[in-house]
């Protein structure tokens, strides 16, 4: 995937200011402070918001793809939805005409939604809603998957199940972007990091390289202690710098 000089404006305000990225298959974390433009970047790549610049997916320009091809190629998974209160979890996961019906039962199993299918979205917990959205989105079996805050509401077990699974998917050649404010356990599981700050790319590279720079403390205004246990990296925020 390639992004060249990508800009997005809402009204007069420029939210993304000329983003340049080149991503291969793999797991990429998109991090950055609130309002940095993570969600906007994911939506632009998924063709959900208008943008200036070039987005190339597998050497094909997003703009040159026809509608049907584009929506199949890339999936954006939102953090929440505000649906009609009567919509059930089952209705939600079945609402996409493009899902792979062989995959859907598998994801219902992995994300343990089987007892929740008849429950209304107005009643489910936020973690349960996240899991339902993930099951729906992942069942589309797209080659590019952009997950927005998939870790924020699910418990630590599902965080690990999800990240492990995404790793497998990325090894099958998919480009996977995870926008998140949960640096742990995200950073110990991904291949690359894109740090966005104020609509610009503040860092792009591997996790190891990220930790050699002061990017994190610069963009968040927080000092981090790095703790390594085996191949597991944890960041402990210490104090606002």
């Amino acid at each position: 995937m390639e992004v060249r000089n990508l800009s997005v404006s809402y009204g007069g305000a420029q939210i993304l200011k000329g983003i340049n990225l080149r991503l291969g298959a793999g797991l990429t974390a998109v991090i950055g402070p609130n309002g940095a433009g993570k969600t906007t970047l994911l939506k632009a790549i998924s063709g959900l918001v208008g943008f200036k610049g070039i987005v190339k997916l597998f050497d094909r320009e997003l703009d040159s793809l026809d509608q049907a091809e584009r929506v199949r190629l890339v999936t954006y998974i939102p953090p929440i939805v505000e649906a009609l209160p009567d919509v059930t979890v089952g209705d939600l996961v079945l609402s996409d005409s493009m899902v792979d019906h062989g995959l859907l039962p598998k994801y219902v199993e992995i994300l343990q939604l089987h007892t929740l299918l008849t429950r209304k979205l107005s009643l489910v917990s936020s973690g349960e809603l996240s899991r339902a959205l993930l099951a729906r989105g992942l069942s589309r079996n797209s080659r590019v998957i952009a997950l927005d805050e998939p870790l924020s509401h699910v418990d630590v077990r599902f965080q690990l199940i999800l990240l492990k699974h995404l790793r497998t998917l990325s090894q099958e050649g998919r480009v996977i972007l995870i926008a998140s404010n949960q640096l742990t356990p995200l950073l110990s599981q991904v291949d690359y990091v894109v740090a966005v700050n104020g609509g610009e790319v503040a860092f792009f590279g591997s996790v190891a390289d990220l930790l050699k720079t002061d990017t994190l403390s610069r963009i968040y205004g927080v000092r981090f202690e790095v703790v390594r246990v085996g191949d597991f990296t944890d960041l402990i925020p210490v104090e606002p710098s």
């Binding site: 998924s46 509608q67 059930t88 219902v108």
Partner: protein, 346 residues
């Protein structure tokens, strides 16, 4: 079998049972509607004779009864469809053409047009009346949504804005009725929502508009469920959610307005039919909710009209009076549920 397959199977089974049951009751009520009235008649004879009379344009008691029962069925389905579309496009379980003020807006414009020309059965006049009514309905809808948007477009703000707009247009439509017309009773009876003067001319635009709406719905079926969930999901089916919403809103207003143009304001059916359907079916999937809503809307109005004409003969209680007594409690139920879910955002 996976839990998902089981869910799908149960959902379908529940739909088949509910749909068959409601349709059967509708059929029974329809036949009762044909046979009961000023005097008891064999419903099958009424049907056969009625069809002949309607075709030959020479209405006797059989033709009248058949037409009236058919009107109840068609208007019920039309309003249910309208309400269902409004609930989907606004993601608001309280939406309904009456509650959003659309019916009253349509009523106002039609009454206004009567000041300039008496209604006739000429095709052009029918088309004009349809157009007049829908312009009023659209105007009221836009006004309601505009006012509600100033308060964050929550279900409750939409409801209250609709009440304001609806009350205004309803009262405004009463004004010329008192000032201008001689046969004011007939006009008031019409505006209150009644089937006492059915006509084949009135059924034609209703059936045409409903059929057009159903065809459009069929064509856009793939993003339709997503419209009640998330606009981003609609975009991911390749459709523009705003355009889709505009088209469906237009159709919903049109459906309700056409019904108002001939049969006056009938409230709450559009609210109750989809609401009860989702409750009974345990799903919001439109493949199931739409057909169930349509037959349920027909059932509510056919039964209401039957009660209205047989309760205290020879008095004709307008269908709207009975239907509202069924529909209004549904609104109350919907409000209570919103509160419990905390989904009202008020």
């Amino acid at each position: 079998m996976s839990s998902l397959d089981l869910f799908i199977k149960r959902r379908r089974k529940r739909f088949l049972i509910a749909f068959t049951l409601i349709t059967s009751v509708l059929l029974i009520v329809f036949l009762a509607h044909l046979s009961l009235g000023y005097r008891f008649l064999n419903p099958l004879e009424v049907f056969v004779e009625g069809v002949a009379q309607v075709i030959s344009r020479n209405l006797g008691v059989e033709g009248y009864r058949l037409l009236r029962a058919l009107t109840a069925v068609v208007v019920g389905a039309t309003l249910a469809l309208s309400g269902c579309l409004m609930q989907v496009t606004t993601k608001n379980p309280l939406a309904d053409p009456y509650i959003l003020g659309v019916s009253s807006g349509a009523l106002f414009m039609v009454v206004l047009s009567f000041m300039f020309a008496q209604p006739t059965a000429h095709p052009l006049a029918i088309a004009l009346r349809t157009l007049t009514a829908s312009s009023g309905g659209m105007l009221a809808y836009l006004l309601t949504m505009f006012i509600a948007s100033k308060a964050g477009t929550t279900p409750t703000s939409v409801l209250l804005a609709g009440v304001a707009v609806g009350t205004f247009f309803y009262s405004a439509s009463l004004l010329p009725q008192y000032v201008m017309f001689q046969d004011i009773h007939k006009l008031i009876a019409w505006s209150m929502g009644s089937f006492v003067s059915p006509s084949p001319e009135a059924l034609v635009p209703l059936i045409v508009v409903s059929a057009a709406a159903l065809i459009y719905i069929y064509l856009v079926r793939s993003p339709l469920n997503n419209l009640q969930i998330s606009d981003d999901f609609v975009r991911q089916t390749g459709y523009n959610p705003m355009n889709l919403r505009r088209c469906l809103t237009f159709l919903a207003s049109l459906l309700a307005s056409v019904s108002v143009a001939w049969f006056g304001v009938i409230g709450f059916v559009g609210l109750a039919a989809p609401h009860i359907s989702r409750r009974v079916l345990g799903t919001s999937g439109l493949v199931y909710v739409l057909p169930t809503s349509l037959v349920l809307g027909s059932l509510i109005l056919t039964a209401s009209d039957l009660i209205g004409k047989t309760l205290v003969p020879p008095v004709e209680i307008p269908v709207n009076v009975i239907a509202s007594m069924i529909g209004a409690p549904t609104l109350a139920l919907a409000i209570v549920e919103l509160k419990r879910y905390g989904g009202g955002g008020s």
